[in-house]
């Protein structure tokens, strides 16, 4: 009993948290190896804040905009929690991007961790979909244009995109289905992939720079939780200082807004290619990421020695960055002929 008190382990004993005392490379406690865990922490923030927002949001096109305004002006803590949701999504985008770059650089996708990589790429793709569907839910001018992009993209891609067209069903609205996607289907997919990702990391380990020194996972988890709480604190403060806004009510037939910053590289590509940019850009990026373990076949797994795959990855990364800058500073253009 005394030992239980000394390490605060009443709960540890009941929840068998000792199972977390397994050895991991000491390098796992470096900041660069915490990016994935930090992203998971942001996902927890997104789920909790999303559940709260869902209590006040109305997915009916007739009531959606007013319900968002209600959340901002009248729901208790609504403005802050919505801003927290917004900033956590941005933070998750940054950490997941940095995590992918780090894992790619270290070539951690090589045998036997191909599936771990694919689960991660799948989660990054889902995060991208979370952002574009979330923007549509605002149902302001930007949200309306996002919804129109879904329809245009759905019509361009035929059967593949049928879900995003108004003709998919007469029984409910597209906004309602986007809401269902954002709050049901995407979270289910994300949690499934997250579970798979963690399972594989637990059993296959990470591809870390291993100096022979070990630590235990429980210490890593405590440190990671600490980092996550500090990150929550910082985002919470940002949400207070820079609350996210809402555009004016939508006017159909106009395309005047730019999308949320994580999607601006797609906007830049649309400026160059037209509406097909929104289909081709993300497809090319995620197809490349998914193909990386298949393309990099050398038996050597030294970080940075990818050969041509590395150069291709670097070129693609620079193109995305250039498109993003073009999206930020380039002109506003009509892409879908609303």
């Amino acid at each position: 009993m005394a030992s239980e008190k000394s390490d605060g382990s009443w709960i540890s004993t009941r929840l068998a948290l000792e199972a977390l005392d397994y050895a991991i490379p000491r390098t796992a406690n470096r900041w660069t190896y915490m990016l994935g865990g930090l992203t998971a922490f942001f996902i927890v923030i997104l789920i909790v804040t999303g559940l709260y927002l869902a209590q006040f949001y109305n997915p009916n096109p007739l009531g959606a905009y007013d319900s968002v305004l209600y959340i901002i002006t009248r729901a208790p803590f609504g403005d802050w929690i919505r801003s927290l949701h917004y900033w956590a999504a941005g933070a998750a985008t940054l950490t997941v991007t940095a995590h992918i770059i780090h894992v790619f650089w270290r070539r951690s996708y090589k045998k036997p961790r191909e599936v771990t990589w694919w689960a991660g790429v799948g989660m990054a793709g889902l995060l991208f979909l979370f952002i574009v569907t979330g923007a549509a839910l605002r149902n302001d001018q930007e949200g309306f244009e996002a919804l129109a992009h879904f329809v245009a993209g759905g019509e361009m891609t035929g059967a593949l995109g049928a879900f995003f067209t108004e003709g998919f069903t007469r029984s409910t609205t597209l906004l309602s289905r986007i809401y269902s996607l954002h709050t049901n289907l995407l979270p289910l997919g994300l949690l499934a992939l997250l579970g798979l990702h963690f399972w594989l990391i637990r059993h296959l380990g990470i591809h870390a720079a291993y100096s022979g020194e070990t630590s235990v996972f429980r210490k890593h988890a405590v440190r990671l939780t600490g980092v996550g709480l500090v990150a929550f604190s910082v985002i919470g403060l940002i949400a207070v200082l820079f609350p996210t806004g809402l555009g004016y009510p939508a006017v159909a037939g106009f395309e005047v807004t730019k999308p949320h910053w994580p999607v601006l590289w797609v906007y830049g590509l649309e400026n160059l290619l037209g509406a097909w940019g929104m289909v081709l850009g993300p497809t090319a990026l995620f197809a490349f990421l998914a193909a990386v373990p298949l393309l990099d076949r050398s038996s050597d797994d030294t970080p940075g020695r990818h050969g041509w795959v590395g150069w291709l990855g670097l070129a693609l990364g620079l193109v995305v960055l250039a498109l993003w800058l073009y999206g930020v500073f380039g002109p506003r253009q009509q892409h879908i002929g609303m």
């Binding site: 977390l20 905009y65 007013d66 002006t73 803590f77 709480l229 500090v230 009510p249």
Partner: protein, 188 residues
């Protein structure tokens, strides 16, 4: 340490939102019971006529109000007969913006006696000023775009007024999370 963190996590994730929901529910009016408002129409155009029947009302005079998320319209007063029933035709003002509303019978003491969900469809375009009381104290709040307006890319100016208690709780949460986080990083 991890055990305590798990406990704190449970508190934050489960108890926090639950407490907020209960607190929010506590400041709401009691849900309507007993009296019933009915209509054969679930939707009506702004400027159109809605047929409404009331039953099981207590004695007294009730205000029929159209309540949206952000605006509220006083439509008319009604006094049920001795059997607690009434039937009437309500004209929905043309200025009511399309959206989802609750038609609510409010007793003289302010409690909502009965309500029904109602969808208001877009009526003919009008220059008539909106007569509803704006609950958000926001000039644009609840005012949708009408045909002929230009789309705008910028954000709506919104008055974000928060009570001191709310700011205090948010600050406390941010401070606690930051403090606990730094402490955990140091210990680990």
């Amino acid at each position: 340490m991890l055990g305590r963190t798990v406990s704190a996590g449970f508190l934050l994730v489960l108890v926090g939102p639950t407490a907020l929901a209960i607190a929010h529910g506590a400041v709401l009016e009691s849900p309507p019971h007993g009296a019933v408002l009915k209509s054969t129409q679930s939707a009506v155009a702004a400027g159109g006529i809605l047929t409404v029947n009331g039953s099981d009302f207590d004695e007294g005079t009730y205000a029929l109000r159209l309540i949206g998320a952000l605006v509220e319209f006083d439509l008319r007063q009604v006094t049920p007969n001795e059997e607690g029933t009434f039937a009437l035709e309500l004209e929905i003002p043309r200025a009511v913006r399309a959206g989802q509303y609750k038609l609510t019978a409010v007793a003289s003491d302010g409690h909502a006696a009965a309500s029904l969900d109602l969808t208001i469809l877009e009526g003919s375009v009008t220059n008539e000023p909106e007569a509803g009381r704006d609950l958000a104290d926001e000039p644009e709040a609840g005012h949708g775009a009408t045909s002929g307006e230009m789309a705008r890319a910028e954000d709506l100016p919104i008055e974000r007024s928060r009570g001191g208690a709310e700011w205090g709780l948010i600050g406390l949460l941010i401070g606690l999370a930051g403090g606990l986080g730094v402490s955990m990083i140091r210990r680990a």
